[in-house]
């Protein structure tokens, strides 16, 4: 009798926990795989607008990719190269100009609310704290320089950033992802040639 009750209780428990765990099991991924990570950023910067619509070169802003391990996030002063003059979308400025014409006054300066955050950061000397998206573990020493020197597209690892309103990690950026390309197994080509890169551990791990 007792044994039977115990069995029932245990079975119920197993079923309930299985139901609770199923969604987790479906979404399970290997540790360290952060593909799909798309955090909200302190300023809603649009790569679709800048890299896509305006077709600004990636390395205009991420200028240290050629010179350093890190591609780098542009300093606020780099943003100000353009945004000293461009304070809002053109549509907003036009609307204000027309409104001003109607009201026979000088048009006010239109500042987009997101850009205002940048101006505020400079005014208060508080650097913008971006959320880092593409990140490899501390024991991996990825270096942008040889990849750019080899002529690899940024999109190969970062995905079609120029189409993203908010940047999302597309690839897993795990070791398999790196090694498959280094060994020329995933079909990536450089100027029509298959990739033949080092697969020594010490290329990345030291």
């Amino acid at each position: 009798m007792n044994g039977r009750i115990l069995t029932i209780i245990l079975s119920v428990a197993v079923v309930f926990s299985a139901i609770a765990l199923v969604p987790r099991l479906i979404a399970m991924r290997l540790p360290g795989d952060h593909s799909g990570f798309e955090p909200e950023q302190p300023i809603a910067f649009s790569h679709r607008l800048h890299a896509g619509e305006l077709n600004i070169n990636c390395q205009y802003c991420h200028a240290t990719a050629q010179r350093s391990r890190y591609a780098g996030i542009p300093s606020a002063s780099a943003c100000m190269n353009c945004h000293k003059f461009i304070t809002s979308r053109r549509a907003g400025i036009r609307a204000e100009e027309e409104q001003a014409k109607k009201e026979h006054r000088k048009p006010n300066q239109v500042i987009a609310p997101e850009l205002n955050k940048l101006y505020l950061a400079i005014k208060t000397s508080t650097p913008v704290r971006w959320n880092r998206i593409h990140q490899v573990p501390d024991f991996v020493y990825f270096d942008h320089r040889p990849h750019i020197a080899a002529g690899l597209d940024c999109q190969r690892c970062h995905g079609p950033v120029e189409t993203m309103e908010r940047v999302r990690q597309v690839e897993t950026l795990n070791m398999g992802f790196c090694v498959n390309c280094h060994r020329g197994r995933d079909g990536t080509t450089l100027n029509g040639h298959p990739v033949k890169a080092t697969s020594d551990c010490s290329a990345c791990h030291f």
């Binding site: 391990r69 880092r132 320089r145 551990c201 791990h205």
Partner: protein
Amino acid sequence: MKTYYRSIEELETPVAPRDANDDGRNEVDRRDFLKLAGFSVAAVAATACQRSSVEKAIPYLTAPEEIVPGRAYYVASTCHGCPARCGILVKCRDGRPIKIEGNPDHPLSRGGLCAIGQATVLGLYDSLRLSGPMLGGKPSDWQQVDALIAQKLSSARRVRVLTSTIPSPATKRSIDAFLARFADGKHVVYDTLSCSAIADAHEETHGVRAVPHYRFDKASVVLSLDADFLGTWLSPVEFTKQWSARRPWHIQLEPRMSLTGSNASQRLRMHPAEAGLVLAHLAAAFGAPFSNLPPLPFKQVVFDRIVERLRAAKGESLVVAGGNDIEVQRLVNFVNEALGNYGAAVEIGAPSLQRQGNERDLAALADADALFIAGCNPVYDLPQGSELAKQLAAIPLVVSFATHADETSKYAHAICPDHHFLESWDDNEPVAGVYSVTQPAIAPLRNTRGVMESFATWSGAPASAYQQIKSQFTGDWDKTLQTGAVVREVRTSSPARTNFKPEYGPRSADETSASHYTLVLYPAVAMLDGRHAHNAWLHELPDPVTKVTWDNYASVSPATATKHALKDGDIVRIGDVELPAFVQPGQHDGVVAIAIGYGRIGTDRFAKSGPKWLLGRTWLHRGETVGKRVIQLANQPAVTITKTGRSTALASTQLHNKAEGRPLFGPEEKSTAGNGLWPVKNKGQHQWAMAIDLARCTGCSACVIACQAENNVPVVGKDEVVREREMHWIRIDRYYAGEGDDLETVHQPVMCMHCGNAPCETVCPVLATVHSSDGLNQQVYNRCVGTRYCANNCPYKARRFNWFDYPHDDRFANLVLNPDVTVRSRGVMEKCSMCVQRIEEARIEAKQKGIAIPDGAIRMACEQSCAADAIVFGDLNDPASRISAARRSNRHFRLLEELNVQPAVGYLALTSSRAEGEGSTTAPRES
């Protein structure tokens, strides 16, 4: 064949494998095991649920032009680790200094840098550095301090500034300008490592009170009487550079085993009181009118050969003496003059300014109205420190510039902490005519102020250090900042040689009776006069000769040890100090040698260093010090040794990493039979290899600290060192052969040999250590599971295991970590990576430029710092490279060649310039 041994203990019991934990106290019993097992399970359970958090990426608001995030840049500056003032390049990453390297453009040090220079970067990130000015022992601000000093100075008449040697013209100018305001102002300079007798002797003989600039590159015969010029004397890096390039016939007479003595062509033991006698004989041989001299303390035939060698090398020899005895130095001057060395190897026209002290001036401190103490710690580092402390209490105003709370600053009314030299502007003139600039590599981390800025403020003409230096500078300022140093013409009014009358009054040599010993106090290579006592790297650096870490000790000769039944670690009482004894082969039987520079207050901070664990032993309690202060014994002519019956463990690394009885040292011919398990693959574009020239290596240990700084090697603390768990990737094995006057010493750096047939690679069950295509043995930390099979199978014992996480005891010191090297965690094996981060950097750079990596473009951290240029790294696939040339040399050999592990690291055998028939050579000379 000679027998090489590392210590007396090893000589007596040749193969004595010692387990780390077999001293009986450390057996793990069942209960401890269960406790540990329980904790481990709990720890795993607790740490297994973590998920890495999202990192913030915070760019600059306005990016500084010179800083590229992730990319190193270098600032040319000058080292302030000692008054030698070597040129340095400060490697900075993301705005903070992380490593110091030698500056190849500096005319004196020419790219070399000693262990102390390398370690000074750790001192920058010391959280115990005073955070700002102090008034009456309480934190204050600069306005209040300046106001108090101005008020007290208004009535002051006798004002004294007490410093150690300051080779900075600008600082001296600011002090002089300050003192000029007072009726009786005087700048008193003293050196704990004093050379004032040399200066005094030259005042008599040349009319210039100065220490000459010695040029070992101009001497083919060197006679040194207890001058440790490769280790601690005047300018060791410069001297090492010159000496090892020339490798002169060098005879060293000394009472204790110094680093210099261990490298000499011939070394004789000499009682400190006998220096005058030997020199008097020498002077007589070169024409001094001495007669009836007491007999020489060693064989006439040896002496005759010294004379013969010196005579044959007239104008190309050098006699130096380390002691601070004017009579000895007068004789040295006479002999150097007789040999025509002035103007050649002894340069008095453009003298060295690295020792300017004059201890006689210390008398001027009495009855001062105000005393300013900069760059020294007289209560600690003067023998009469405790009397001075009483004097200080009577002075109305004592101002200290100490960076840490120290023995002297306790008595100061105000402390005005100086910057760390990596934060400050300064200029230097270590040798007349050689001008170098100290540039800041980082803004001051603390609320400190430079010495010359403080003096300028109190003089009523505040000026920044930069203004003070720049305003007096003539020449190309920008170029000087870029190269770090400039050489100027020195107008030498060739000094008048007035008085060369040598005098010698025989000493009563019977000061040492049977039970009394002469005390020899010497500066340790890492500690000098104690100024670096807050540096954990230097404390854990094995002494180049004794291999002891974290302590000073009373060295006695083997005969003395037998007489008193002493063995290493037995605590003896000498004067009022109790110290562990250490048996040192090659030491004079009549002396006890103790290193000064230990026993600084505040060193109990290191009680925190090392892991905290169940069986960990507390080796340092609050209020205790690392080692003992002994300088107060300096005035005791003779001491006795009293055994206390207690003993302690000396953290000596000399018997660590033994190769289970295999002779690690020895260039003897060996057969290489059989093949490795795996074929040697030589498929890569490069074949990296290293060669170490044992004929150049002096064992100075700069490479050990360079490697530690470059590769984030942790400090483990004394208890772990005793357990043979030190983490240095490069160790310097020191071997002795022979005994007494025939003692020969060999220094041999050993690191991972990067074997072609690596025994470690075949046994790793998880392939965490594998071979790279370009010949490196790679250790992959993230794959390692810590079986330690590889370390067991390593014939060279070059692998180190992380028994614990070894965080910095001072969290602030994390800023010194090299961001290009992983900080290893507990349970992971590590070893020399051949600075693979530097190889990768050079590879990437060459790839970007589309060129082949030029020979010499990659410099290992150890190679870069080596003042002796003993280490060569390069690509064997390039037949024109330096390493290929080294490989072709007939002196080239590899360790344990008979194992056929095909190491990538090789050695060039020691050649010896010992006299034919006297002693023996280790290997045939290179033809």
